[in-house]
Amino acid sequence: MAHIHILAPLDGTVVELEKVPDEVFALKMAGDGVAIDPSGNVAVAPVAGQLVKLFRGGHAFGITVEGGIELIVHLGLDTIELEGEGFEKLAVEGQAVKAGEPIVRFDRATIEAAGKVILSPVVSAGDGTIVQRASGTVQAGRDVLFTLEI
């Protein structure tokens, strides 16, 4: 059995997934994980892998790791409706990424001014079970957000 450390993709405060006001995430339909209330403005890769999905609007991305691990970082809730406003892509879909590599820059003020919540779920959608998760404040690309056992 292997343990894979998933780093925080954002600076901020960890919030339980169940408290996210969006049932897709709160009911773990998209997978288990945690949410982060961000304090910074750049989302980085939480793990080394392939950036298989970077949404056109830059509001969400997904990374796969060999061995069946899939991670989704969703910046804010219902932010697809912003169609890219408040987000700037710093990476290209399909590329290999290192843990901590910048993926998207975002502007909280713009996103909130558009009426969206910036609370950002980070979920494991593939193989593995979360055996440990962080609480309190985390630093992007440095602190372990959760650990997957696979």
Binding site: M29, V52, T64, I80, G126
Partner: protein, 89 residues
């Protein structure tokens, strides 16, 4: 004997197969034993992996090919076609 069924479906959700619709689709797909794939143009997605479905990038109005093979393929096809054609948000 393994049963394989295939159907071309037009995506009905207004945001395409984005997080919410993809999550609902995958959750339902996982309730079947059959192998389930979604194809769009040259790409194929594992219907039981949300990230794989998201990576397909299917938008509202896009045609996707749903291929299901296994013992419960017929039941799965009926259910999943209805989900894909409907508006899941």
């Amino acid at each position: 004997m393994e049963n394989t069924v295939e159907r071309t479906v037009v995506v009905g959700s207004k945001s395409g197969l984005h997080a919410r619709p993809a999550a609902i689709f995958v959750q339902n797909a996982k309730s079947f034993q059959s192998q389930i794939t979604l194809g769009k143009n040259e790409r194929t997605a594992n219907g039981k992996s949300i990230l794989s479905v998201l990576a397909l990038g299917a938008e509202k109005g896009d045609q996707v090919v749903l291929t299901i093979s296994g013992g419960d393929a017929e039941t799965a096809l009926t259910k999943l076609v209805r989900l894909l054609e409907g508006d899941l948000g």
